[in-house]
């Protein structure tokens, strides 16, 4: 059953159109990748899905969560949905966490807010979540401040916060972009494990095709505020229909080749694919 559906979602700032006619659907166990360059409107789309567009921006279309259209809903209605039905993980875990609050309390917060747990119970669940996101030495980490743990650990905390109230949709906005490549892999593996376990629908936003392709079963490709291509990940990768899609796939292949042993690189091949695009 569909949890979240956006239909013809458009976003404008004043008279300037930033996102046009985005349509997407998320049901349990769905894994949708939203890919596009910076400025393509993918992050704005994500923010609109949580009713958190920056001041002055206006969304039109429909955002239906559990059968109710939230597009024009007041903030009080959105607040019941945020964190409990739909939640979000942000790009930069250092600034997304309160620098002066122990991470355990930050994870416990939404549990107290949505589930009405008392301080001790929420704290106990926060500790449990630290274990579930495989934080080392969880008893110590719940009391640590964000600057006292590593970047990867901070993103694990952010994931724990987002999943604490068992939402049914998780929006991950470039959650690995700020991390080292090795740490990036670990976070992707963690997300893979947790969404499999909980059945939470995933909307994974990134500019990095290989990262998205590893996790998403469906892809949406955005450019200049519009979805230029969509379909099952394998189809998009094998037979990109749009020119931008072909460009993306080609440059991703090029990166993969560079990473492989030099013998595999066939000179000119990358250039030919570029030419196709």
């Amino acid at each position: 059953m569909t949890v979240l559906a956006a239909t013809n979602l458009s976003i404008a700032l004043g008279g300037r159109s930033l996102v046009r006619d985005v349509t997407l659907e998320l049901a349990a166990h769905d894994r949708v990748g939203l890919i596009g360059e910076s400025g393509s409107g993918k992050s704005l789309t994500a923010q609109a899905l949580l009713g958190l567009l920056p001041d002055g921006m206006r969304a039109t279309g429909r955002i239906v969560i559990d059968g109710r259209d939230y597009l024009e809903a007041p903030d009080r209605a959105w607040r019941r949905v945020r964190g409990s039905t739909v939640s979000m993980v942000f790009q930069e875990p250092l600034t997304a966490l309160d620098p002066l609050m122990p991470v355990g309390r930050q994870i416990a917060g939404p549990l107290r807010l949505h589930h009405g747990l008392n301080r001790a119970d929420a704290q106990a669940q926060a500790l449990e979540w630290c274990r579930r996101v495989h934080l080392p030495d969880p008893e110590r980490i719940v009391r640590a401040l964000p600057h006292q743990i590593s970047g990867g650990q901070r993103q694990r905390v952010a994931v724990a916060m987002a999943l604490a109230c068992r939402p049914r949709v998780l929006i991950a906005d470039e959650p690995t972009t700020a991390l080292d490549v090795t740490v990036q892999k670990q976070i992707l593996a963690l997300l893979d494990e947790l969404i499999e376990e909980t059945g939470v629908a995933l909307l994974f936003i990134s500019h990095d095709l290989p990262v998205v392709a590893g996790l998403a079963r469906t892809l949406l490709v955005m450019r200049s505020g519009e979805v230029v291509e969509s379909g099952p990940t394998d189809d998009v990768l094998r037979r990109p229909k749009s020119s931008y899609g072909r460009e993306l796939v080609a440059s991703a292949r090029e990166v993969t080749r560079l990473a492989s042993p030099p013998a595999v690189v066939t000179p000119g091949a990358a250039g030919t694919e570029r030419g196709d695009a």
Binding site: R76, R82, G83, S87, T95, L100, A162
Partner: protein, 317 residues
């Protein structure tokens, strides 16, 4: 933290030595001779010399300096040239006026400015935000003494609600009278300080509002107000505490102007009359104590900031 405290206290003592010397020599450079104040203008040079000798102001500068510094070390600030009373006693005698004035203005401006500053930040595009900003700007632009005089004119002279100035001779033995005579001075000082503080609280709150952790909190279901309460108080406190230190110091020093507008026998008035009379030991002692207070407040502010934000404790400080 202990090592840091030790370093800071050492630094404080060093600053006090520098400040003490600076105060001493700067006052000696000023024109004016206490002997002339004591005798009428036109006294004979012999008489003046005799008085100078009696006051000790004819001794070599270095000898006077070591005398003053030796006194400081043993906790003595010397005695007044005219009344022959210990300077410390005179200062302590003025505190029952100055301390309640400065402290209550400080606390009041804190109570008024913090909620108003936060409101002005949250509603920065609304009427409330614009009105608060404009009023704060006005409050900063208005000279303190002018606000005082207007208040006296309206409340004391026109409406006869409160005394226009002065302080009961029996001080706090007549609590109602004493308190009543401090109302207008406290309001005046509060107006001036609130205006400054509101702007800092507003900008600290705006700073917090733009932080990503507020967006995170909202993405988890907190309202803006809840998010601000949950994350803003502590994060916004660090910059505000810094200003509070400056403000506490300036409210002590600001009493000089306020006390002379309202004819209050406080520390500020003591300083003013002593300057006019060239009663150097009293001026020296008062200025030194005020400087020491400012330095100590600065130290306390640094320590409090470190308690609020543990990230500051990491560095060498």
């Amino acid at each position: 933290m202990l090592g840091y405290l030790l370093r800071r206290v050492t630094w404080l003592l060093g600053s006090l030595v520098v400040a003490g010397s600076a105060i001493f020599f700067l006052l000696r450079v000023l024109p004016g001779d206490p002997a002339v104040t004591l005798l009428a203008v036109g006294a004979s040079p012999d008489q003046l010399d005799a008085i100078r000798h009696q006051l000790g102001t004819d001794r070599p500068l270095l000898e006077q300096f070591t005398g003053w510094f030796g006194g400081l070390l043993s906790g003595q600030l010397g005695e007044s040239l005219f009344t022959r009373l210990p300077v410390l006693d005179q200062i302590v005698g003025r505190l029952p006026v100055t301390l309640p004035l400065a402290l209550s203005a400080f606390v009041l401006s804190l109570l008024v400015a913090v909620p108003i500053g936060i409101l002005a930040a949250v509603r920065r595009r609304g009427v409330a935000g614009i009105v608060v900003s404009a009023l704060a700007q006005l409050g900063i632009a208005l000279p303190v003494f002018w606000v005082g005089i207007i208040l006296v004119w309206l409340v004391a002279v026109d409406w006869r609600l409160l005394p226009p100035g002065g302080f009961p001779r029996d001080a706090w033995l007549e609590p109602t009278l004493a308190a009543r005579s401090l109302v207008l001075p406290v309001i005046t000082l509060t107006v001036a300080q609130t205006s400054v503080l509101v702007r800092y609280v507003r900008s600290a709150t705006l700073d917090v509002l733009n932080q990503e952790y507020i967006r995170t909190a909202r993405s988890l279901g907190y309202s803006l107000t809840q998010a601000l309460w949950r994350h803003g108080l502590r994060n916004g406190a660090a910059p505000v505490v810094n200003v509070l230190g400056v403000l506490l110091a300036s409210s002590l020093l600001g009493t000089v102007v306020i006390e002379s507008v309202f004819a209050l026998p406080g520390l500020g008035t003591l300083l003013l009359t002593s300057v006019k009379a060239r009663d150097l030991p009293v001026v020296q002692g008062t200025v030194f104590l005020m400087t020491a207070t400012v330095l100590v407040v600065g130290l306390v502010v640094d320590v409090v900031q470190r308690l609020i934000d543990p990230r500051l404790r990491g560095g060498a400080g």
